[in-house]
């Protein structure tokens, strides 16, 4: 089994920051990656100001709201897609991006990633995962979205019917479930 703390890129001498997740796992990440999370950045800078632990590598930043499985995915996202949020300027590029977003698939995963990105104030990630989630709503029927995301419809049948009539145009041309 691979060692979680092993650094695959020994030539890099940049400072490391240790993040501690809700399940008490330690992640040693490059400062450049950690600083994308504004919540971490803020914490780190406050620590620095207090001069408690200015030597980067010994700083352990607790993230009580982020599970290790989710943090691992966020970090690998940071590494893989540094410019992922650059605006797609043609159709082909948009399709490629859609495929990339699809890899983060299941609704439970996306909700976890979004919650974590929100808590960490990680703006690019939040936009990316929100868009990944939006991809599962676009062109989909109401029934599909409810099922996919576990939403229970709580309108009275006649209320819902009324909406569907009033906004009939919005219900045209959605994909087959």
């Amino acid at each position: 089994m691979s060692n979680t703390s092993e650094n695959p890129n020994p030539s890099s001498s940049s400072a490391k920051i240790t993040l501690k997740t809700s399940d008490n796992e330690l992640f040693e990440v490059e400062e450049a990656v950690a600083m994308k999370f504004c919540t971490v950045k803020q914490y780190f800078e406050d620590e620095k100001d207090n001069d408690v632990a200015a030597r980067g590598s010994s700083t352990v930043i607790p993230l009580p709201n982020v599970h290790s499985a989710v943090l691992a995915r966020l970090i690998s996202y940071c590494k893989k897609l540094p410019q992922s949020n650059a605006v797609a300027d043609n159709h082909e590029e948009e399709e490629t991006k859609k495929k990339e977003r699809k890899q983060y698939g299941t609704p439970g995963d996306l909700v976890d990633l979004i919650s974590a990105a929100n808590y960490l104030d990680f703006k690019e990630g939040l936009e990316f995962f929100n868009q990944a989630l939006a991809d599962h709503i676009q062109n989909k029927s109401v029934e599909y979205v409810r099922k996919f995301f576990g939403i229970k419809g709580d309108f009275e049948p006649h209320e819902e019917e009324k909406y569907r009539e009033e906004y009939a145009w919005a219900f045209e041309g959605v994909d087959e479930d």
């Binding site: 695959p8 893989k80 909700v111 976890d112 979004i114 709503i137 309108f155 219900f171």
Partner: protein, 151 residues
Amino acid sequence: MDESGLTQQPKKLKLNEERDAVDRNIKCLQNLPEEILRYIISLLPTKDAIRTSVLCKRWEYLWTSIPNLDFKGLELAKRKQFMNFVERVLLLRDSSDIKTFTLSCDVLRDASHVSAWISAAVRRNVQQLYIGLYDFRKPFSLPHSLNKRCY
């Protein structure tokens, strides 16, 4: 470069466990705060955004603050549906500013409606306006409010 991720293997197993836990708790979209749901809806085309209002009561009015509106209705057969849709959306949308407003349709005999739609966008301080109007039955002029802002 690709598979060198330091924590990939052991985490994958964890993720599956996590996923099961997620399924058991039926943890879903409803767990996200309202501001995030609004964010997600704002990333959708207008048609899709409005459709979310039927999902459940919590979502009913989340769409009303979407900053971008796009109305493209060139199919004559669905003219009435399209008109109703635009009118309702503009009527029910909240008063926050509009970033981009896209309108593409035939004008036909509805010049006053179409003009009012554009005025509604201008009144919400629209930043980008894309208008493609076709098939005029009468002379058509853009709303005065628009001229005032385009100097």
